[in-house]
């Protein structure tokens, strides 16, 4: 029989898992932690992994099933359910966006548009694209921009009618019925995270002709209500939210239902994380303690609740 030879295992130089890497892996727990265990006894799981790093055995001889017991979405959802057990004031919702994982797919943008039935010209979470470098050393970066749900939100005090405020869970909410549409908050938000609803629909002015579906049926989906703030806003005439300022609300209506925000669940890069930062065992709590964490325009003192990992 012919000589049999295993291919050389991957060289340590490029394959060694640094402690940092490892912790990264651990935190993006879909990859490392079996959540059942983590929830029951996080210290023990951590210790076990620590040992593996020290001995350099991580990733070797472990089956994939061990490594990724759960999609990180599921972990976060379970953490969400856990957080909902606490009084609202004890929760601190934060979002973390890992720019290394964001692939600029805009699924979050459209997912949000669909969830909140946003009309033309209204967007809560655009994704900004940038290119750097010179051929052939090029880089591209994608930066999703939801509302930062600032701890210290400049958009709130400027509102003359208290139509926008921070609720008990730290979400900067809108009261559509109260808003007069002065758009002062739009100018005050340093992230351009607020937009105005100018009352457009996608299907207006499209043909109504025998033989074609036509606007009458075609606009059904955009006339159906959204559920922002736990209310039902069907798009009708010039009624709110038309004429109002609008913004991302961390999908509060979903959170309270035990469902993660739409932009989180649809994120195919698994770049967007959401949870209660007050829960020390939560994924987001881990992530925002990373050295590569940053927030946008931090110098303004807005204290965003949206963190980016670089």
């Amino acid at each position: 029989m012919a000589e049999q030879e295993k291919l050389t295992p991957h060289s340590t130089a490029s394959g060694a898992v640094s402690r940092r890497n490892f912790l990264g892996a651990l935190a993006a727990a879909g990859a490392v932690a079996a959540f059942e265990q983590l929830a029951a006894n996080p210290q023990a799981v951590l210790a076990a992994y620590e040992e593996q790093i020290v001995q350099g055995t991580l990733g070797q001889g472990r089956s994939s099933a061990d490594l990724k017991a759960l999609d990180v979405l599921e972990r976060m959802r379970l953490e969400l359910l856990r957080a909902l057990q606490k009084p609202a004031s004890e929760r601190r919702w934060v979002m973390v966006i890992d720019l290394r994982k964001c692939i600029g797919c805009h699924a979050c943008t459209i997912g949000c548009v669909a969830e909140n039935k946003l009309p033309p010209g209204v967007v809560y979470r655009p994704v900004i694209e940038e290119e750097f470098g010179t051929y052939p050393n090029v880089a591209r970066r994608f930066i999703p921009r939801p509302c930062m749900q600032c701890e210290n939100p400049p958009c709130v005090p400027v509102c003359p009618v208290n139509a926008t405020y921070t609720n008990a869970e730290g979400i900067v909410e809108m009261d559509y019925e109260r808003c007069i549409g002065c758009r002062y908050c739009l100018t005050a938000c340093p992230y351009s995270a607020r937009v105005s609803d100018f009352g457009f629909t996608y299907t207006e002015e499209l043909p109504v002709i025998q033989g074609l579906l036509g606007t009458a049926t075609a606009d059904d989906y955009e006339r159906a209500p959204n559920f922002e703030y736990g209310k039902q806003y069907a798009r009708q005439g010039r009624a709110s939210p038309v004429g109002n300022a609008r913004k991302c609300h961390f999908c509060q209506h979903r959170i309270l239902e035990g469902v993660l925000p739409a932009c989180v669940t649809t994120c195919i890069g698994r770049a967007t994380f959401f949870g209660d930062a007050n829960d020390p065992e939560s994924l987001v709590a881990e992530l925002i303690a990373r050295p590569n964490v940053l927030r946008l325009r931090e110098e303004l003192g807005t204290e965003p609740r949206v963190y980016y990992l670089k």
Partner: protein, 393 residues
């Protein structure tokens, strides 16, 4: 002491030059009505403003009108009640009426800028006094009432004492109003070019300067006896005040611009906005309209050719008109400067664009408001005793 009395004796019929004002007003109203109708039917959709440039022509015109209104009244009250300028006091009904009309125009315009103007009363019921707009509205309301009372008294020619009290009260109120209207912008930390303590101050100086020019214009147009020495003294005085205010304001602005632009001033967004004003696509509105026609020409006239009545009128008119370039340049370039680079390309819609140029609809609404103002003003000139009459008569 020359009496300023109403011109009851004048017949109500027969064409007068001032009738042109309301006639033009009607024309403007008709032209503007289409835009206004669109505004009422489709809300803000037809306007060029969007979400990234949320304020535009209307807010700029609003501020401009506030400057004229409050600036002229402040200066007037100051000169009349504090500096006891008796000459100026003669045109009190005219000044008050002018201010009142301008104020109404300003309020209509700003109401048109609201997404839900039918809810304007929310500002009284749900007021949040952290907001400069709340202050603005409340102060403006107070000012409106005050002005209405003053005007009422002035037109009736009664209650001099009360009028004086009101006039003096209007001083701090106007001062607050102008500072608050500046603070609306000044407190916005997100927009570095606005976010300076100087902005309210600049508003104050600009308002006074524009107000001075407005007073000058009113005097040069409506003063009964333009040959009188009193007229010459008054116009010269006003020209000097206006001139110095403009020079002073421009000087301070220049110094500020220097520090902002020096080595980028440490804040690229602020520098970029200023660059836009100075060298953006609308550079001419700053250099030619504002600095050229609005400052240099009037100032030269005010200091050199002040004796020429027509030139003086021209200078004052130029100054009054071109001040809108200042408010436009305060409001718009700052907003079209991106807060986050690339945002306007990330999700595209005309309402999510940073390219803002006032569109026809916005101009039509402004035209409507001016038409309304002109109509009111013209009718007022015709039917109310606001114009000064010759002492001899």
């Amino acid at each position: 002491m020359a009496q300023v009395v109403s011109e009851q004796k004048r017949p109500a019929a027969g064409f007068r030059l001032t009738d042109l004002i309301w006639i033009l007003g009607v024309v403007a109203l008709l032209i503007g009505a289409t835009g206004m109708l669109d505004r009422l039917r489709f809300g803000l959709a037809p306007a060029a403003i969007g979400s990234y440039v949320p304020w535009g022509l209307w807010v700029s015109f609003y501020d401009y009108l506030v400057w004229l209104e409050v600036g002229s009244l402040l200066l007037f009250s100051g000169l009349v009640y504090l500096a006891h300028n008796e000459s100026l006091a003669k045109i009190k009904p005219l000044v008050l009426f002018t201010g009142f009309v301008v104020l109404l125009m300003a309020l209509i315009l700003v109401a048109m800028d609201l997404g839900h103007f039918e809810r304007f009363w929310h500002v009284y019921v749900y007021a949040d006094f952290d907001s400069m707009i709340t202050w603005m509205v409340w102060l403006h309301t107070a000012y409106l009432i005050l002005l209405a009372a003053e005007l009422f008294l002035a037109l009736r020619g009664t209650g001099k004492g009360l009028l004086k009290v009101l006039g003096i009260v209007s001083l701090p109120l106007g001062l607050m109003l102008i500072l608050v209207s500046g603070s609306i912008f000044g407190v916005v930390a997100a927009r570095p070019l606005w976010n300076t303590s100087n902005l309210p101050l600049m508003f104050f100086i600009s308002a006074l300067a524009s107000g001075a020019s407005l007073l000058l214009l009113l005097v040069t147009v409506f003063w009964a006896d333009k040959q009188s020495e009193e007229y010459t003294r008054l116009t010269q005085r006003l020209a000097q005040i206006a001139g110095w205010l403009m020079l002073g304001g421009t000087f301070i602005a220049g110094v500020l611009a220097f520090t902002i632009l020096y080595q980028g001033g440490g804040n690229p967004q602020r520098a970029a906005a200023l660059q836009l004003i100075l060298a953006g696509p609308f550079w001419w509105s700053f250099w030619i309209v504002h600095i050229g026609l609005g400052v240099i020409v009037p100032v030269v006239i005010y200091f050199v050719f002040y004796k020429n009545r027509w030139l003086l009128m021209l200078g004052a008119a130029l100054s009054v008109i071109t001040f809108v370039a200042v408010t436009l340049n305060i409001v718009i370039p700052v907003l079209v400067t991106p807060e986050l680079e690339g945002l306007a390309e990330a999700y595209q819609h005309q309402k999510l664009s940073l390219d803002y140029v006032p569109n026809l609809n916005e101009w039509l609404v402004v035209t409507f408001v001016f038409g309304f103002g002109a109509l009111l003003y013209g009718l007022g000139l015709r039917f109310l005793p606001v114009l000064p009459k010759r002492a001899q008569e």
